[in-house]
Amino acid sequence: MAERAGAGLAPAAVKAAPATAGVRTGWRPSRTTVGWVAGGVLVIALVLATVLYDNRLPVGSAGFRTIVTMRLESVATIVVVAFCHGVGTVIFHTATGNRILTPSILGFDALYRLMQTSLVFVLGGTAVAATGGLGAVAVQTVLMVGFATLLYGWLFSGRRADLHVLLLVGVVLGMGFASVSTFMQRMLTPSEFDVLSARLFGNISGSDASYLPWAAAVCVAVGAVLWRRRHVLDVVALGRDVSTNLGLNHRREVLLLLVLVALLVSVSTTMVGPMTFFGFVVATLTYQVAGAATHARLLPLAALVGTCALLGAYFVLRHVFYAAGLVTVIIELVGGLIFLVHLLRKGLR
């Protein structure tokens, strides 16, 4: 049903495109333009609502400004996280040639947890706490990106890249990483465990704002690289054989994409902790809305859809249900359900 709805939308969107190129009789925006404007307005409305709603201090007072600043930090965190998951999952789908797997389902998150735990385990809690800050985060990110690239690059290149095998290997690896982490956590002292937990269970409101500029910079850089290569991404999505025929070094392109995915996932996980199904939900929604779209439309749309979904959930949970800490949990619950339904309806395609 959902698929059919997408099919209905798409031809209209495509037909609308040439209308802008032709001679206009009066001002009639194309459906695409309307979509972008509506999405933009929705995001702005959500941002304003999140920042300004239920601020009981007098407007302009110091307290008012403090609250607005804190909320703005949350909004910025949400935008960064939505970008990482939305765009990261879309390019992961492009690189792997399927629209079921996500980096998290294949254990990128579990890998992050394992690395954090190993750091505390090997170096000790005090050392890790003392070396906290940007330098340590940067080193961790580099390690994570390197390891994920090696592991998944090896998995996805080569001829054994059968989807079922991959899914199985990914899930088993993820479980393995998680068990090893749990094992090491059992042997930590309570204070070390405390240091570790603070890193593993991030949430949106509790995110460390000092990482924000760096995370945003990484997102902008990755976004710029992807935007420059958007036509190449369209070709990569056609699969190994067709893209080789069209003159791409498919293996190299896929590796590059996997590096960028690892980068985005580690940035997001550092900021708010792991989210398994959020990227999947955003990407699936994006494909439905975009119809037959090229990456020039998919990439910005994924960021937009992700931001809307996360901001909406955050606003509703924080101001309607007073349960802001649950945002990631709810997203996972809904996302997991959608993932299951999608899997059961469409199979492993």
Binding site: N98, D241, L246
Partner: protein
């Protein structure tokens, strides 16, 4: 010209191809025929650099397909496999436009658009250009894939079983279109084909393959003979003459 020298390929301990030494002349249609598992598709994919050979060298139009840059090769040879499944939902025009990627890098110029239109026109796809691939019949989709590699504007066109899943009418019109591509556009077309009679009726050269090697290569009248076919397919085959071309009869 396509030149294979000492080319072989094994899957595990099973040798699928070779060693093969073969020259495929420039121009016209060359058909690779032979029984199942003879290495026809393997040879085509090796020549199309989708598969690296274990030994030997392949030159297409002077370029070594293993060492030359993929980007340069994409302007010389186009290869299309049997199975094509895309995750992206594409219209026919979008698909055919991808054929221009090696030339334009994705930013289509007026010339690219003209080539795409030509390819659509050539395969009678113009009325279907705005349709999505998953809304087409098997035959129409097959034509759309061929239109993509045609739009690539390469001298060499390698197609793996382009008649797969086509009924008689569509198979005949596909072969006529490939014939026109060879005659009117001067392309060198190499196809893997199961039906020896299509090879006999349309090809200029026939390469008969058996057990990963080249059994015989030459014009249809020399390769499609009763003795050769009976031996290669291990089935009694009569060869008649029909409109000056051989016609194999093997139904009983």
């Amino acid at each position: 010209m396509i030149r294979l020298a000492d080319v072989s390929k094994s899957y595990g301990s099973v040798r699928a191809l070779g060693p093969v030494d073969l020259d495929i002349p420039r121009g016209g249609i060359t058909a690779l025929v032979g029984p199942n598992g003879a290495g026809k598709s393997t040879m085509l994919t090796v020549v199309g650099r989708l598969l690296d050979p274990d030994t030997g060298q392949v030159h297409v139009g002077g370029l070594d397909v293993v060492t030359a840059r993929s980007k340069d090769l994409a302007k010389v040879l186009a290869v299309l496999r049997q199975e094509n499944h895309f995750v992206t939902r594409l219209t026919v025009r979008q698909l055919v436009s991808f054929g221009r990627f090696p030339h334009s890098g994705g930013r289509l110029t007026a010339e690219d658009h003209a080539k795409v239109d030509d390819a659509l026109e050539f395969l009678d796809l113009a009325p279907l250009a705005a349709r999505f691939l998953d809304e087409l019949s098997g035959g129409q989709r097959q034509r759309a894939y061929v239109a993509m590699v045609l739009a690539q504007d390469t001298d060499y066109l390698l197609l793996d079983e382009p008649l797969n899943n086509l009924d008689v009418r569509h198979a005949v019109s596909m072969m006529k279109q490939l014939r026109r591509a060879a005659d009117e556009l001067g392309r060198t077309v190499v196809i893997v084909i199961h039906d020896v009679n299509f090879a006999a009726a349309y090809a200029d050269h026939v390469v008969m393959m058996v057990d990963g090697g080249v059994h015989l290569a030459g014009p249809p009248s020399e390769v499609i003979t009763s003795e050769v076919l009976t031996e290669v397919f291990r089935t009694p085959v009569d060869v008649l003459e029909h409109h000056g071309r051989p016609l194999a009869v093997y139904y009983r």
